[in-house]
Symmetry: C2
């Protein structure tokens, strides 16, 4: 069976940052799907894509307070609105992939997943495995899900990716973001900030100490994401956080090159 | 728990008949969602909608021969294309429902169902039941599914409806079509054709004998649909085939009125 890669496309990469209008970043998306298509022509691998939300998800989810769970029934309108908005983004991503000759298919998480206090506790993958085996490219996304504790809640793409990687026994995870990787200091504040090439459960303590001493969140809001990827690494599945903004990087990462960003390993 | 109704919206009702262009029949759809919204305001019931395909599904499915199963890999492009086209129709149906204030949410069958030689053998409904209980209106549709025997195949809405009705223990099924119901003779050929008010496993034999003697398919291509609904009636779940083209009928049917078309009962 060919290698299985799970690719996360960051919401900030494939959408335009705006509070008023949810728009696809067509320029980025076009280039990224071309890189994916080129990599798939050069190498035979199974691929699952999970994309983020950007304003398509964040704006309506915030408006209806979906991250606080279901407190009153007006939020059901928000459930409906937020999912529909994410479906619109997903439709575009699938369309762009299809235009590059990739047999992509939407993969709606809210149809089948159940959260408990924001963590996935149920997500059957029988069909997903069959789709991947027949070389289809399922395209999932951050979504609003039923939550056993809070009624409904947000499933982020960053939570879905490591969950699926472990369940599907993926060979590798690639996280395409709007940064080069994880730095030892916040690169926006410190000129001497350096990209960390590798993070393991060992060196992460040291990295955190440096950050704490300089009173900065070194992981740049990536704390939860990093913890989930470190946990995934324990099971032998490596992931690399790379820049999706620099042309060519995604393709090289999909083809197996390492050291392009920050590698998270055991 | 309020009554659960499963409503089938026929593809021929919500789309325009065309081989070239797949278009929503906005006039019909607008009226039908208004009738649904009015009925829901007058009465409290849980609702699941399943809609057909019209040219959105039939044209690409036929082009790629999807009903013959997976014979070569070019059909995977057809899988991708047909699902994407159905998703476009589904997005519109959900949008129209949302405009009438209904908390509708897309419900993608191909994410979770598995066929075996065109018959559903697996379709987990854990999430679906929770969505219905919180009074969301899931909107499923005819789709392309993984098939354990033939690779992929078509799941028709007419097959999904009785399957779900039985699994979810629905109280009633309403089938909104472009005909008034089932006639004793083909109404297009015979002027004396009469609408059959009730079909049971008993009188269906007589109806078929009349049809056979006049060399006509009395069920007007509804044979498989009728058989599935008769089977459903055995489990105590009645369904009624009604006209979605005559204004007001759908609303009355949702509100519990019987005898509007053809009732299929035990």
């Amino acid at each position: 069976m060919p290698e299985l890669i799970i690719l996360k496309l960051g919401g900030s990469v494939i959408t335009k940052k705006s509070e008023e209008k949810a728009e696809v970043n067509e320029e980025n998306l076009k280039r990224l799907v071309r890189e994916i298509a080129e990599a798939r022509r050069e190498n035979n691998f199974r691929l699952m894509v999970v994309h983020g939300a950007g304003p398509f998800g964040h704006v309506p989810a915030k408006k209806y307070g979906l991250d606080r769970g279901l407190r009153d029934d007006t939020q059901l309108e928000g459930f409906s609105a937020t999912h529909q908005s994410m479906e619109r983004l997903n439709f575009s991503v699938v369309d762009f992939l299809r235009k590059e000759g990739i047999n992509a298919i939407a993969y709606q998480p809210s149809t089948l997943g159940i959260l408990k206090d924001k963590g996935l506790i149920y997500f059957p993958t029988e069909v997903l495995e069959k789709l991947l085996d027949m070389n289809m490219v399922p395209v999932a996304y951050g979504d609003v899900l039923v939550d056993e504790k809070t009624g409904i809640n947000i499933l982020s793409g960053d939570h879905l990716v490591p969950y699926l990687a472990r369940k599907l026994k993926a060979d590798r995870v690639v996280i395409a973001t709007d940064v080069h990787g994880i730095f030892n200091l916040d690169p926006k504040k410190y000129k001497d900030a350096e990209l960390i090439k590798e993070i393991t459960s060992e060196n992460v303590k040291l990295i955190r100490e440096i950050g704490t001493s300089k009173r900065t969140d070194v992981t740049g809001g990536m704390e939860r994401k990093l913890n989930e990827l470190l946990n995934l690494a324990k099971y032998g599945i490596e992931s690399e956080i790379i820049s999706a903004l620099k042309p060519g990087i995604l393709k090289r990462a999909l083809l197996g090159e390492k050291g392009l960003g920050t590698l998270i390993k055991k």
